[in-house]
């Protein structure tokens, strides 16, 4: 079943289950198993996976650094064999336990990124707004989210116009390294903020003109309905979470 068709509440529940599981587990092997199961499930659901790599790629260096640092900085493990020293450099001792702690962090990051990626690419903002309405979030909150999102293209267009206007007056926007970019950022922000304030002022009038605040509520335009497939996915996720919790707390597995 395509992820887009899954009920947004089920997706949220699965997302929360993954987050709980990956934090109770401190063993990289079990987290790697969880990651493998998640990836397999996403591929089976026909989720496009190409975008995931572009999210993971910039994190690679960070992940290597995490492993390097935790390898030498961790101590106090539950099992004595984990204190075994693998090698030492400049008086720093890299332990087996440290390596596993580092790898576990990496596995957690990958799990979080994958789960977030799957959730965001498959969930239109309207679904989230519908959930907000259903849990009786204040209606102004969903209006805030919608208007903020609908203004992103408007502001992006304004930014382009401002940059063009400055280039027309001889500004050298792109050429002087990170500091130069920050310096040329300032003159862009001034008109952008001025414009946003004017826009916000108009927006407040425009919303009132359309009756915003006439009642303390709004007609809801969408209903959410759970289908059998949604329930099935939910049950599988709950069962998997229970299994992980059982392994972790009854058998003591998955701890370093």
């Amino acid at each position: 079943m395509r992820l887009e068709r899954l009920d947004v509440r089920v997706k949220l529940a699965v997302f929360v289950a993954i987050m709980v599981a990956l934090f109770v587990v401190t063993d990289p092997v079990l987290n790697a198993v969880l990651l493998a199961v998640l990836l397999a499930a996403l591929v089976a659901a026909g989720t496009p996976m190409r975008g995931l790599w572009s999210m993971v790629q910039p994190l690679l260096l960070v992940m290597v650094l995490i492993v390097v640092v935790t390898m030498v900085a961790s101590n106090q493990f539950t099992r004595p064999e984990l204190s075994q020293v693998l090698f030492s450099v400049w008086g720093l001792q890299a332990t087996l336990g440290g390596l596993l702690v580092g790898l576990n962090f990496v596995a957690r990051i990958l799990l979080m990124v994958t789960a977030t990626y799957a959730f965001t690419i498959s969930t239109p903002i309207d679904d989230l707004l519908a959930v907000m309405a259903q849990v009786h979030a204040p209606y102004w909150l969903s209006i805030l989210v919608t208007t903020a999102i609908s203004f992103i293209p408007t502001m992006a267009k304004k930014k382009d116009l401002i940059v063009e206007a400055q280039r027309a007056r001889g500004a050298r926007v792109k050429d002087s390294g990170p500091i130069g970019q920050i310096v040329s950022f300032v003159p862009i922000m001034v008109p952008l903020i001025t414009n946003s304030i004017l826009l916000a002022d108009n927006l407040a009038v425009a919303m009132t003109n359309r009756g915003y605040g006439a009642t303390n509520s709004m007609t809801s335009m969408r209903d959410l309905k759970l289908r059998p497939a949604d329930l099935a996915v939910l049950m599988v996720a709950v069962a998997a979470l229970v299994l992980v919790l059982w392994l972790r707390f009854s058998l003591g597995y998955g701890v370093i």
Binding site: S150, A165, R167, N202, R210, G211, G213
Partner: protein, 575 residues
């Protein structure tokens, strides 16, 4: 019962302002009528519209006296949200009124606030979109709409509340002629459909004069004139005194009236009636065509050469589809055509804000691709449409200094140029003011000044008159004319065909990324068939000349055509 919306003795002052923006204004809008508000910038037109649904004073605060009555009931004491169900207001800038990501979501915003049941909302969304000719657009993303479509969507969003009065603040000021026609088609349809009262602020005289039942002219916060639009526009002194743009047909007709050929009250407002009048006066002998104005010689020195210019935007849209054009030093060129025809895309190649996909741009004998944008900025100045995107300093002088510092001039030279250029554009007196404390016309001139300081030989101006009142249009165009007289080559992008006729000496008509026509202004404006293909209309003056003397080069100036007609018709009388 008295079915009307009535403003009774309203005065209003914005918070922290020194003076009232409205003084004792009383106007009556009968149910089902169409009233147009005109007058110079700052006269209080938008403020008056906002008093009609209570945004003034409720949201804007400030102090108001007097009352607004709907069907005899005072609106004071009602919340704005209660009034907006009856009196709808569409603001000037459609961008800031879009409240949904999809078209349907946006239109539904209003009725949802009143807890209208879902089925009824869906029905109203369809109905309102049909009223503004956007049926079938429900699932489109609002950010993908054109300017005219956004403007109509803003109207639909208010119509979905089923208001009895619809107030429109400059609904067409940012649109091309095709977009204006769309808006006025919507207004016409609404008028036919029943008893919606319409009140609109509008600068464009010719769109409203034949449509509106009533005209209210505001000046300095007071009603300076009120009555039938034709009576106002026939009185040129009155039009001038109120800083409103005169109708060319009336200028010609008034010349005839001045010579005693027609009673002043019978001066025609449109070209059809004017043509009939001239033919009636001439009888069997139509006056000879006027001698064409001499075409000014050009310098023969090319400053811009475009060869087979193609520009493809990311996503594959062809902005320019093979444009070749040579502009000589000292020329005054207007680029015209509908939105999206490629005018601005072409202009942006002149200073390399955009780079050609293929083809070449040669500026002053140098291939532009060998220059960086900041080097080109000294040859080609570019004044953008909205001054507020170009202003980012805290004083007027600082704003002008910015480009000069970027060019690396020494301090003495910079100060000399700042003083010179601010005096030239008439802003010497406000050099230490904050730009945003000044009016839009002045901000536009700051934008021009900051470009002029670099002393470009070529000046590109994008829509220099948009959103300005008649006084603003005249002073901006006088500034550009002076620059041209001093030797600067002008390339102007505009929708205002009257401005083109009176100022440009050469017109380039663009459509779908190509040049459709190119030549001396009078010749191009007479080719109405070509103009129509590019969704450009000609001026009343050229239209009359073309109809009276097909094939002859028409006069561009209505005063001149008026004198010619008077001259030849009175001579015919004497014989």
């Amino acid at each position: 019962m008295d079915r009307s919306l009535e403003v009774v003795g309203v005065s209003y002052r914005y918070p922290k302002a020194d003076a009232d923006v409205l003084h004792d204004v009383s106007v009556r809008f009968p149910t089902g009528s169409f009233t147009v508000l005109m007058g110079p910038t700052g006269a209080g037109k938008s403020t008056l519209l906002m008093t009609l649904n209570g945004v003034v004073p409720d949201l804007k605060e400030g102090t108001m006296s007097g009352e607004v009555h709907l069907d005899g009931v005072s609106l004071s004491g009602f919340r704005v949200q209660t009034i907006t169900e009856h009196v709808g207001l569409v603001l000037q800038d459609p961008e800031s009124q879009i409240l949904g990501r999809s078209v349907a979501e946006d239109v539904a915003f209003g009725p949802r606030n009143y807890l209208v049941p879902r089925a009824e909302i869906t029905r109203r969304v369809g109905e309102s979109l049909a009223q503004v000719q956007l049926a079938g657009f429900e699932e489109r993303e609002t950010s993908q709409l054109s300017g005219g479509q956004k403007q109509r969507l803003a109207i639909a969003g208010v119509l979905a509340l089923h208001p009895r009065v619809l107030c429109l603040d400059e609904p067409t000021s940012e649109l091309d002629p095709a977009g204006r026609d769309e808006i006025y088609a919507t207004v016409d349809a609404l008028r036919r459909s029943g008893d919606v009262t319409i009140v609109a602020v509008e600068h464009a005289s010719s769109d409203v004069v034949q449509r509106a039942d009533e005209l209210v002219v505001l000046k300095d916060g007071r009603v300076s004139w009120q009555g039938r639009p034709g009576d106002f526009f026939r009185d040129l002194d009155l039009v001038e005194a109120n800083l409103v743009k005169p109708l060319p047909a009336v200028v010609i007709g008034s010349a005839l009236a001045g010579a005693g050929l027609v009673p002043a009250a019978d001066v025609p407002l449109g070209v059809d009636d004017l043509e009939a009048l001239v033919r009636r006066l001439a009888g069997s002998r139509l006056p000879a065509p006027p001698d064409p104005a001499p075409v000014a010689p050009t310098s023969g020195r090319p400053v811009v050469e475009l060869r087979d210019l193609v520009h493809t935007y990311p996503g594959g849209h062809r902005g320019l589809d093979g444009v070749s054009l040579t502009i000589e030093a000292g020329e005054y060129v207007a680029l015209v055509g509908r939105n999206g025809a490629g005018k601005t895309t072409l202009a942006k190649h002149l200073n390399r804000i955009l780079q050609p996909t293929s083809g070449s741009v040669v500026v002053d004998g140098i291939d532009a691709s060998t220059l960086q944008p900041w080097e080109l900025a000294r040859h080609v100045g570019y004044v953008f449409q909205n001054p507020d995107h170009q202003i980012f300093c805290t004083t007027v002088a600082e704003e002008v200094r910015y480009g000069l510092k970027m060019a690396g001039l020494d301090a003495g030279e910079i100060e000399a140029r700042v003083t010179e250029v601010l005096d030239f554009v008439g802003l010497g007196g406000v050099r230490d003011e904050h730009p945003f404390s000044l009016g839009k016309g002045e901000r536009q001139r700051i934008a021009v000044a900051s470009i002029l300081a670099l002393r470009p030989q070529i000046l590109v101006v994008d829509e220099p008159t948009t959103g300005q009142d008649w006084a603003g249009v005249t002073s901006m165009m006088a500034l550009i004319d002076r620059l041209n007289a001093a030797g600067t080559t002008i390339v102007m992008v505009t929708h205002d065909i009257d401005v083109v006729a009176h100022h440009a000496r050469r017109v380039v008509v663009m459509d779908a990324g190509r040049v459709l026509a190119d030549g001396p202004t009078a010749d191009v404006l007479a080719r109405t068939d070509v103009l129509a293909r590019a969704a450009v209309s000609t001026t009343q003056t050229v239209e009359l000349g073309r109809r009276l003397w097909p094939g002859a080069t028409p006069l561009l100036d209505e005063a001149e055509l008026g004198r010619h007609l008077v001259g030849s018709l009175t001579r015919a009388d004497a014989r």
